[in-house]
Amino acid sequence: MSTDISIKNGANLNLKGLASKELEVAKKSLTYAINPDDFFSLVPRMLVKEGDKVSKGQPIFHDKNDETILIVSPVSGKVKEIRRGAKRKILYVIIKAEGDDVIKFDIPELQKITKEQIIKLLSDSGSLAYIKQRPYNIIAKPSRLPKSIFVSTHSTAPYDVDYDFLLSNRLDDLQTGIDIMSAIIDKPINFSVTHKKDSSFKNLNNVKIFNIKGAHPSGNESFQINKIDPLNFGETIWVIKPEDLSNIGAFFSSGIFSSSRTVAISGDSLKSPKYYSTCIGASISSLINSDEINDIKNYRFINGDPLSGSKVEYSEFLGFYNNSLSVIEEGNNYRMLGWLPFMYNSIPSFSKTSLSWLLGGAKKVNTNLNGEERAIVVTGEMEKYFPMDIFPMQLIKACMRGDIEKMESLGIYEVVPEDFGLVDFSCTSKIETQEIIKSGIEIMLKEVG
């Protein structure tokens, strides 16, 4: 059984250097690291010290505000360093990989497992971190069960992965994960695939398949939730990335926390952009050889897609959640008279003041801001890239004012910052909308919770 959902508006950005569908096992990373910033609003309290031995799956920190939320080590080894920044903020917990000690849980027979047992196992094993709760996009709380669960394999962001390829040999784990999650809500989970794409996911059980038709950002779960089962005040919905769901499935099959991560490395400067299988927190240098790119200093590495990912240095590590790693040239150069209409048409632009839309094919991009930040002048622009019955500009202004009542009534619960990636990209006034929404959500989390 499947339902067609069409999400109008939005646009796809076709960028040069998309990872080709070849899978290679990445070379073993010497160190792995967890960045507490990957978990929105989590305040880490360390459970290990520098020099401690840790097993794979052993908790390394928990949330100060909710001790049931554990973050565990992705590998077995020794805590090499707890890297701190300004005000002693923890930047990375770096683990030197050695040995193969694991923490193993006894899993009851899956046919007879109860809801309570599942929740407890998810929480104790650290697998709960794979589940995000809407509203707020925080790690799911065991105390707030969802009304439905969403998984989207319809990936639309630039440099986003093809989940059919990525999960082709993990379908069993995926099915186990689906069975476990649907047991929690006593109904099938909502699973979206790309419209008219021949997908092996359509044969999965315990799922309600939605064929999503639409350009970016229709692949983001928020827009699908809004169409399929809108989130109301006081309700929660869980969202899980497909590979994370497979990891949950793998845990329930083996009793060992699974930290597998397949990552697509894309970028027009890379000699051979492709998929690599590795583990969460692997060092970037284990994935990209320094000779893969000439002049590596002039490139930006992004955990995630170029619209909403987060910047990392080459010497740093893969994030907890991202399946894509983007490499983009820094754009710190001047362009003479670049503001004239129809100049520099090779820069991607949705505006008809550039001929970019006429020139087909994949585009080369860099990180130049292409202008300066200004007050919002052009109207009707954000709505074009925000296909939801929410007024994006009004919501952003409410967030800027910190107006809780307005944020709530304009729909802050239904959005997450990355939904505004394309709004950020296309904004004539170069407004940082994702940051503004993030600060709005932080206020709501603090004041309403």
Binding site: L337, W339, I347, S351, K352, I390, E435
Partner: protein
Amino acid sequence: MKFIRKQVDVLKKPFLKGGKLEMLYPAFNAFETMLFVPDHTTSKGSHIRDGVDLKRTMITVIIALLPALSYGIYNTGYQYFIQTGLEFTFLDAVLHGAYKIFPMIAVSYAVGLAIEFAFAVYRNHPVNEGYLVTGLLIPMIMPIDMPLWMLAISVVFAVLIAKEAFGGTGMNILNPALTARAFAFFAYPTFMSGDKVWVSEATNIDAISGETILGALAANGDVTYSSFNMFMGAIPGSVAETSVFFVLIGALILILTGVGSWRIIISGILGASLVGILFNLWGANSLMSFDWYNHLLVGGFAFGIVFMATDPVSAAQTTKGKWIYGFLVGVFCILIRVFNPAYPEGVMLAILLMNVFAPLIDHYVVESNISKRRKRWEAIKLKTA
């Protein structure tokens, strides 16, 4: 290019932090960014950005204004020469028009930009591009014989009161260019209406006079121009608003580049047509019985609806709101023209009026979205309760 960049870098030094002219950095920055798109890279949010920026958007509007401006220059000379009865060529007319209009543009830009730069330096923010458009619009909607000092005072009023007082570009409630015109209209009425201001040199030479069509209609006079004349624009009027043909070329540029809202333009024309037809049916006086399609051609209607009503800052901001806003601009334009013959400037007053009401229109559009969401929440509460 590299050579110029090097020269700019040398010039830039004293304006940077710690330099002697640090205070004037926003002013230098305005010139520098005119020459080069800066080398700023993204720091937060999306790592890649669209090639469009506010400068490009504003320049597109200026390009769209050029056909109407060029025709305005020619028409200024043309009106002058046919009134004086002198022999003239196309070039004579253009030269005469340019001689009259370029000083107006120069004054408008000099005064307006001086204030903008002063505010930018004082508040230490970059100079906004908004005035590039406003500064060109103001002389284009004034009578040709307006003394330059009056123009300067109108500009000062518009930039200070209509714009900077509210926080600058993007924050204003009223369209600044129309505010300048409204100020002049009420402060110096003798220079803004009657039959001695619309033709070049009419204030100086007794033999020259020329009424606008709306002025003639309001005085229950006859209109001798054909609809074709009105469309092509060889009639007396404000500098660049007379030719519907050239305004439409501008409209086409705005709509094709997506810079101007076609919704406002279309709904404005619909609103004005509807009210025009109703008045035609009533037909109590010469303004009422003036053909509805001619109402669309005369006065500043076309220019106003294309270039003023579509100003994104002062117009309604929601899609639905834009339809309502444009429609009401059209409706009020004809209403004011017909019911209040003392103010033939219907479109100016209609747009300013709707500028004030645009936030209210948006409020109700947004409110309907809010109540829809609330209803959805209430329904769930009832189900679970």
